[in-house]
Amino acid sequence: MSFTVYFYNYNGNARQIGKTLGSSLASTTIDRNFSDIDSVNPVLRIAYNATVEGCNMATMGGKTYFITSTAKAAGGQLIVSMHVDVLTTYATGILASPCVCERNSAQSDVYLPDAAAKNYSYHIVDEYTLKDGGYNQFTYNTELLILMTAG
């Protein structure tokens, strides 16, 4: 049994769910069972390929991987270390997963406090005078005295 590894150069966001990788730039066949390798953090030894050295993602066995490092090895070989890209590998299941969305760039409830918001140290100070339809304040203009007496 064998499986084929396809190599890509992806320039999008690493945290994108379901990345579109485009066309593969190189490929190679590994003469082993895919189930026999570490499917989360695989390390492959392949024939040296300069194109692969410039790639950052790969697919194999139905999964998508980040290429975390490449290193030339003796005998004209290239050691490629990878880590599974769970956001692309399981994109369909993730997108269908029930969730509570705390923040979103397209939707919002502006009345929810945002602890991440920052404020300057100075403040706006506004003064509003309550109105009474007249002077809008108390006045002592008229001759108004109250005399209180006993007896």
């Binding site: 945290r15 994108q16 769910i17 499917s39 989360v40 599974v84 769970v86 956001l87 399981y90 299941g93 993730i94 997108l95 269908a96 997963s97 029930p98 969730c99 509570v100 969305c101 705390e102 923040r103 979103n104 760039s105 397209a106 939707q107 919002s108 409830d109 502006v110 009345y111 929810l112 406090p113 945002d114 918001a117 920052k118 404020n119 300057y120 100075y122 706006i124 100070v125 506004d126 003064e127 509003y128 005078t129 309550l130 109105k131 009474d132 809008n136 304040q137 108390f138 002592y140 203009n141 008229t142 001759e143 108004l144 005295l145 109250i146 005399l147 209180m148 007496t149 006993a150 007896g151």
Partner: protein, 543 residues
């Protein structure tokens, strides 16, 4: 039914011009306007007479004319009830002479802030129905009804203003539910509005019953002017120009000491002038100061007086910062100090301060009342009815002293008595042959005459000038709102996301999202991979 709406005196509808309470088929606006509901045979029509006071350089000019409102059913074609340049004009007219109105029945114009609004017009079986929403209310006009009201701008120096008229018949206003967040709302743009009611919802000031103090028997209270005040002092000094009156008052002051009957004399703000009427001679310590009059508060309408200030506060940020710690509100109440209010009690609401003054003491309470249901907010649950939320107390009076003088009458009379006694003793001694005694007694008499000249004046003063800092303090109700100044990084929402807190599936939240809980449906993923997926979703991903 009656209803209340609120008129604003500035273009942003922030300053409440006046609360208007209308009843069925009538409207009142103090004495500044006149509304007339006219029934003319089978034709009902409305002549709203709006009077302006010194606005547009004119005085008492009707804004509303009848135009051709006098025709038969369906011929009411007035189109220019109000100038379109008014800050806010709403004019509606509906006529239903038939069960199913057809021609000639239309809403003539609705202008809000000079912008023509299109109402929802429904010619249903109940007659013409006009429905439009403004300031959180749904106004409906049905059948033989109409509504007209207009608000024009208060001049910058507040010396002139255009009066307002309202007229409405049966249906009045229905309070609309506040719009949910995200819906278009005029209130979102124009600020907050309220019913002006709270607490028990009747909009009353809840003033104490009149004259809790039993005035008119043992205790008297008068509203007096400065002339009466000066007369009182003159009479208590006994310096009446009429010598006999002066002597009389000096005697009275000594004998009866009327100033002892003065409890206090205070000056109050004009707004707390008792409404009592009438006139009576002032009485103190059983003495009636004939000719010196005041308005006896015992006549009623005397002891308590209320005065109201209000304002509507719009949202500023129109987001959470209006209600969180980013906004702080302090209400400064004349005579009562300052009260810190929760922004939730202020922003988007109408704030009303109702002062109640005890005119006998100058004690005031300032009750802070808020309207219900701020507009433009998503919450539509029960509660949130507003009402009285705070109170301050203080004193608005400053004391004015009452001064009197007995002109030394007491000492003088005592001296005269001593002198008379000396003379009497001398006469008695002479009659008994004691020449020496005669000389001594005469000396005593002369000495007391000298004392008479030196007799002390006894001056009495009740009260003192002052009493707190009422008249030199800020006399306006002021709301001071301090707000944070936000730092706004470019593309903040794109990069960090806005607060949302709703549930769905991950695929519902395109763009950058941060999740706080997720029930992964990723069959085939190992536990290690699921943990990584969760950590990524909680830390923020692009969907």
């Amino acid at each position: 039914m009656s209803f209340r709406f609120r008129l604003y005196n500035d273009i942003n509808y922030k300053s409440v011009f006046r609360d208007v309470v209308c009843g069925e088929c009538s409207g009142t606006l103090d004495d500044d306007s006149l509304t007339t509901w006219v029934e003319d045979g089978e034709t009902f029509y409305y002549l709203g007479k709006t009077y302006m006071r010194n606005a547009f350089g004119e005085s008492d000019q009707p804004l509303v004319t009848s135009n051709d409102n006098t025709g038969s059913a369906g011929a009411h074609n007035s189109t220019k009830y109000f100038p379109n340049n008014s800050n806010m004009v709403i004019a509606g007219f509906a006529y239903d002479g038939q069960s199913s109105p057809s021609t000639g029945v239309a809403l003539r114009s609705i202008y809000v802030g000079g912008e023509l609004k299109t109402p929802d017009i429904n010619k249903g079986g109940d007659g013409l129905q006009l429905k439009f929403s403004i300031y959180g209310y749904t106004m409906e006009v049905r059948g033989v009804e109409m509504v007209i009201f207009s608000v024009d701008e208060l001049s910058p120096d507040q010396s002139t203003y255009a009066a307002t008229v309202c007229g409405i018949s049966k249906n009045a206003l229905e309070k609309a539910a506040p719009p949910r967040y995200g819906e278009d709302s005029e209130a979102n743009e124009d600020g907050g509005y309220g019913t002006g009611e709270g607490g028990d919802g009747d909009g009353t000031t809840d003033a104490p019953s009149e004259n809790a103090m039993p005035l008119g028997s043992g205790i008297h209270a008068y509203k007096i002017n400065f002339a009466a005040y000066n007369e009182i002092s003159s009479k208590l000094w006994g310096d009446d120009e009429n010598i006999f009156n002066a002597l009389w008052y000096k005697f009275v002051n000594y004998k009866f000491n009327p100033i002892a009957g003065v409890i206090n004399c205070i000056r109050l703000p004009d707004q707390f002038a008792p409404t009592a009427t009438g006139s009576a001679n002032i009485r103190m310590a059983g003495i009636i100061l004939t000719g010196t009059t005041g308005v006896p508060l015992a006549n009623g309408g005397g002891q308590y007086k209320t005065h109201t200030f209000s304002i509507s506060i719009s949202k500023y940020y129109a987001d959470f910062r209006d209600f969180s710690g980013a906004t702080r509100c302090v209400l400064h109440l004349p005579f009562c100090g300052a009260i810190e209010l929760s922004p939730s009690a202020v922003i988007g609401r109408t704030l009303t301060v109702i002062y109640c003054c005890d005119c006998l003491t100058g004690n005031v309470s300032a009750r802070v009342q808020i309207s219900a249901y701020p507009n433009g907010l998503p919450y539509q649950g029960t509660g949130n009815t507003g009402g009285y939320i705070a109170q301050g107390t203080g004193n608005c009076a400053y004391s004015v002293p009452i001064c009197g003088n007995d002109n030394g009458m007491g000492d003088k009379l005592a001296t005269l008595k001593t002198f008379a006694t000396g003379i009497s003793d001398a006469v008695a001694a002479s009659a008994s042959g004691g020449a020496t005694g005669t000389g001594d007694a005469a000396a005593v008499g002369i000495g007391t005459l000298v004392d008479y000249k030196l007799a002390r004046y006894t001056t009495s003063v009740v009260g003192s000038l002052g009493g707190g800092v009422a008249n030199v303090s800020d006399l306006a109700c002021r709301l001071v709102i301090e707000r944070d100044v936000p730092s706004k990084p470019k593309d903040y929402g794109t990069l960090r996301g806005w607060m949302l807190n709703t549930s769905g599936t991950v695929g519902n939240y395109a763009g950058y999202s941060v999740f706080s809980a997720v029930n992964l449906q990723t069959g085939g993923a190992s536990d290690e991979e699921k943990t990584e997926i969760e950590n990524l979703l909680y830390g923020g991903v692009w969907v």
